[in-house]
Symmetry: C2
Subunit: 411 residues, 2 copies
């Protein structure tokens, strides 16, 4: 077969790390790799009850085609919820229901990006966003980022000489992969820059409600008076990911383009799933469910941080997120996290090396740890093993025989 | 706001016909416009039962993230079903579960098309495919098509001078919009051409099982020995459309690219929906459900054909499909179906004008009628009104005052 694929497929390669991580799905592996919410937080029984109600009362509607924009009661709930929790002024008509917020990223590429356009992103940024947007063949420019978010002067300097900058992509709350949260001043600075330059901002916001401590900060969308912020939301981290219900909230001129793009991409998100979620939100208390997730993940984060403080050798730094699912580790420069992963898998512990979260590569001495999906005892044991392998690596490096990255993990 | 959209958005305009048809959702309108399956065929109670079982037995799995490729038992069922009903030799690993077969069309564009590549299609072809593929900015070349399918000599002549031909898109069974079915000889001729030219074929097959009479023909996929046919399947017409479960079946080198493209597009199709469908297929008899749809739609088609024979003036031709959901009407040259639609809406009857099904336009004297969603008495009344409006139009045309298409429906 000599099929000629589109050029974009040259850049969309299977992640070798993903292939390696497939090996870690054995139950004996302590995995800090995925971004899985804890199934203990899923409202399984409630969902069975609402499904029975939806199908009994509106089965013909629930199983039929429906509009691209989404199920009106769900759009209304989301708009009201955003306004109450994030300080936005969103109307139901500003909402497009998507198949998870990942689809919001793909539609962003479709709506905004021509070949060679520039995406400005945090450094590092969400791997799934890199993968979604790469299909539209942009150039990624990483904006220097510290613990408070993108550095405004750096963003401005980049925009000065990037006339093809088409979108600024940010995850301001408990970022994936670092766990960082933008300060209020940085949020204001970003919206001011976007306004002055008329460049849209995509605010990816899956974790904001999973906060363990401190007070919530206003969404960047809530500071937007020019209709320049596209907000991506999802029920994956506060309800469950397996139903794939997310949303785009944007001003009408932008949203209309997203609706057109979604119409071509998959017509609509499943009617039944939208009605199941909407009915759950009507009949049960999502806030109580979120509270359970917060308590559970907050305790697991504390366990992981205590274990890292105890087990990590000198020269290792890590973030202490106030929410979300991940923390970020910087290892001594001599350690390649891909090699470390291979050695760790032999001890039945897994994580994601940090390099792939930098679209222009480098930073191979970093890694992302998930703390939401493993119970505390396994977190402690996993971090203990990780520390032991790392100390072996550092010992070898000191003795002048660094283990080099093999071809099998170079991707 | 001065957001610069991607160039592709210039071609992706809101369909004005779609906007007009939104006006026809009032219950008093007799609509032959949509492609809606009859809700009487939806297994509503069975779905409530299987949902309860899935959530009770595997709730933590059903609501969690899962693989991009899809739920293994569902992939196995689909492969076995295709092999039994369509004569293919498909393995479970050749299947990717998608969000309806519309997503299979979008992924086709992503995997195969660069700007300016050529898509060969039937004339007319499915409007949703035109919309999905247009996002990848191809040129559409309509291959002359008769009642037996694409004309092989014409296809070959086009391929001789279209070096950028990247995909041949066909709907061989009860085509949308015409209701036509390809002969066996034409299926063989197509696969022979694809093999000789090494151009992939996308076989879109949503209706093959909804056959009212005659015997099934082998899928083009079943004749493919070179792994060149990408088969798009769906549960929308044989089970229900509101769960958005479709699939791509393709040889591994092609399927791997579709999997990568889907990973970026939306990570995966909903785990719960896949498990609901798989459990329904395990616990209940899909064949009996299909049989109900066949009987219902076959009777409605017969009603519509009898009514058309009775009500249509001379010079009107229409197809008599042996299955599917649609038939196709050619009006006298003087009649513009968009104008006819506006006049029909005033009498509370609706259809889709045929022009948009030709990617390079023209053929404004055609229309698509759906016969699956209206009960027989409303079909008879709707065709009666359609005939009356049409006779008025023809009368006016004879008397030299043709009503011209207004700007409002020119899109």
């Amino acid at each position: 077969m000599a099929v000629r694929f589109a050029q974009r497929m040259n850049e969309m390669k299977a992640s070798e790390i993903r292939e390696i991580l497939k090996l870690t799905q054995r139950p004996e592996v302590i995995s800090f790799a995925g971004g899985l919410p804890a199934p203990e937080t899923f409202p399984t029984e409630e969902l069975a009850a609402v499904t029975a109600r939806v199908l009994a009362e509106s089965g013909a509607h629930a199983l039929q085609y429906s509009t691209t924009e989404g199920y009106p009661p769900l759009r209304r709930w989301i708009a009201a919820h955003m306004n109450a929790t994030l300080g936005t002024a969103t109307a139901a008509d500003d909402i497009l229901i998507t198949s998870g917020s990942q689809q919001g990223l793909d539609l962003t590429g479709k709506v905004l990006l021509d070949d060679g356009d520039v995406v400005l992103c945090e450094s590092p940024t969400y791997l799934g966003a890199i993968n979604a947007l790469r299909a539209y063949r942009p150039r990624f420019v990483e904006v220097p980022t510290d613990d408070d978010g993108m550095i405004p002067g750096e963003l401005d300097a980049i925009l000065d000489h990037e006339p093809r900058a088409k979108v600024i992509y940010v995850i301001p709350d408990f970022q994936n992969p670092t766990g960082r949260t933008w300060s209020l001043a940085r949020r204001h600075a970003l919206i001011e820059t976007a306004r002055r330059r008329q460049v849209p901002v995509v605010e990816d916001c899956p974790y904001a409600e999973v906060r363990f401590e401190g007070v919530s900060l206003p969404a960047i969308k809530s500071l937007d008076e020019d209709g320049l912020v596209v907000f991506l939301g999802t029920f994956s981290k506060i309800f469950c990911p397996g139903m794939r219900i997310g949303w785009v909230a944007a001003a009408r001129p932008l949203l209309e383009k997203y609706v057109l793009a979604k119409q071509g991409a998959d017509l609509q998100t499943a009617t039944l799933a939208q009605m199941q979620v909407a009915r759950y939100l009507q009949d049960y208390d999502l806030a109580a469910n979120i509270e359970r997730a917060r308590a559970l993940y907050g305790a697991r984060r504390a366990t992981m941080i205590r274990a890292l403080e105890r087990e990590m050798p000198d020269g290792v730094r890590f973030t202490r997120p106030a929410g979300g699912l991940f923390l970020w580790v910087e290892l001594p420069e001599s350690v390649d996290a891909r090699e470390l992963l291979l050695a760790c898998i032999e001890r039945n512990v897994a994580f994601v090396p940090g390099g792939p979260f930098f679209p222009n590569r480098g930073h191979e001495n970093t890694m992302r740890l998930n703390f939401s999906s493993m119970p505390p005892a396994r977190i402690e044991e996993g971090v203990r093993r990780l520390g032991a392998v790392l100390r072996e690596f550092l010992g070898r490096a000191e003795h002048g025989s660094p283990r080099r990255c093999s071809a099998a993990v170079a991707g």
